[in-house]
Symmetry: D2
Subunit: 134 residues, 4 copies
Amino acid sequence: MPPPTATVRVIYGDTDQMGVVYYANYLRFCEIGRCEWLRARKVDYRAIEAGGLYLPVIEAHLRYRSPARYDDVIAIEATPIDARAATVKFVYRLVRQATGELLVEGYTIHACVDRDGKPRRFPDELAALLRIEP
Amino acid sequence: MPPPTATVRVIYGDTDQMGVVYYANYLRFCEIGRCEWLRARKVDYRAIEAGGLYLPVIEAHLRYRSPARYDDVIAIEATPIDARAATVKFVYRLVRQATGELLVEGYTIHACVDRDGKPRRFPDELAALLRIEP
Amino acid sequence: MPPPTATVRVIYGDTDQMGVVYYANYLRFCEIGRCEWLRARKVDYRAIEAGGLYLPVIEAHLRYRSPARYDDVIAIEATPIDARAATVKFVYRLVRQATGELLVEGYTIHACVDRDGKPRRFPDELAALLRIEP
Amino acid sequence: MPPPTATVRVIYGDTDQMGVVYYANYLRFCEIGRCEWLRARKVDYRAIEAGGLYLPVIEAHLRYRSPARYDDVIAIEATPIDARAATVKFVYRLVRQATGELLVEGYTIHACVDRDGKPRRFPDELAALLRIEP
């Protein structure tokens, strides 16, 4: 199993009155995971955007296995799979770092588009990475 | 097609730097839709919780069809389907009210559990509603 | 007392594990209030931005008087005061609609700037409104 | 000047369509700062709550000096001052780590209350810390 891509500590602002992380906020954690995956490989997402390409999400899926709570450290594994000409899928596993317990698993699918929203090929640097990982 | 269950106007706080609604925030809109579906049928979710039952989400899926933007009014249709002994699925269609354009479609699946997280039957009032709707 | 500028119903996503609205989220409600104040006076904030002017917040202050809870309807009063050449202050009163109880009061101060962040005069239409209101 | 209490990297979900961090989200960063201040001194906020005491915010004030942007690392300094029998004030300085530029400064005031919201003295351990810091 790969090392976690990133970790995040749950704050009050992430929780809801059920005493657990609000279901939408895991998508924030997934964003943190995939950005750190890119950063760890020296991909500068700001530079991609400055070059006129964007990676909007077109689909998201989460299974909630166990609730994360205030002050938990969540370890986020994000892994791109199934890269195609103009889409890539990231899969996620979020676990409670202290125990290894699975909290949430899921995926997002991203398109590569230009400023007008038209499908485009990935930048070469990113395409190369997505083909060989992991 | 049923009337929208609820509407919500996009604020700055819902958007991200791409100029569109951030992908996690649609799950907030889905919550608004399913709560309004319950409210319209006189189901008091606070009373359900006060009685010791909860409806946590166990799965969520969204397809992002077109981006919502600042000041758009989003019409949210939420419809429960496929109710079982201790789970129910809500499906969602979020459209731009001004044009009818589909923005996001998806579903959430909810368990009915007690304070200890053990599966329980739905309260009778809610069970009756879920069987006969929509 | 003027009628509320807007109302919003508290959702799960607004609350935290203390069972009340998370303190940052009241600033979202303030945004809803001041946008509705503008909308009620036919000011199109998108048009102002399209014209190259922005109203970023430069200061915010909130006093938390009583906690709002899940399913509460919050009535938001937003009122501009003390408009100057290139700044305006909005004051807010957020009350629980069912009881009139004061929840939060506060203010925000906004600058009028251009795309480069330089101070600019308000658009004429907005300047006229800010001088004569409330 | 003390070392930063915590750092946080700005994600898409923190930004708004103006391309900067949404004004409410700085209150999330302030929460991160004050929790890390406590953690660094071995104060377990969960234990305080488990003991029936809470530190709700009763006032918040922020001055927005310069906008934080996507991917910026924000260094958060949080420092308690002016502790009294049942209230404490935290002051914050948020700077862009790469440049030291001041982004936001402000404060929050917190009460110490019991489950019924009645003012209570701080737990001894916390009271001792608040008197001798910074």
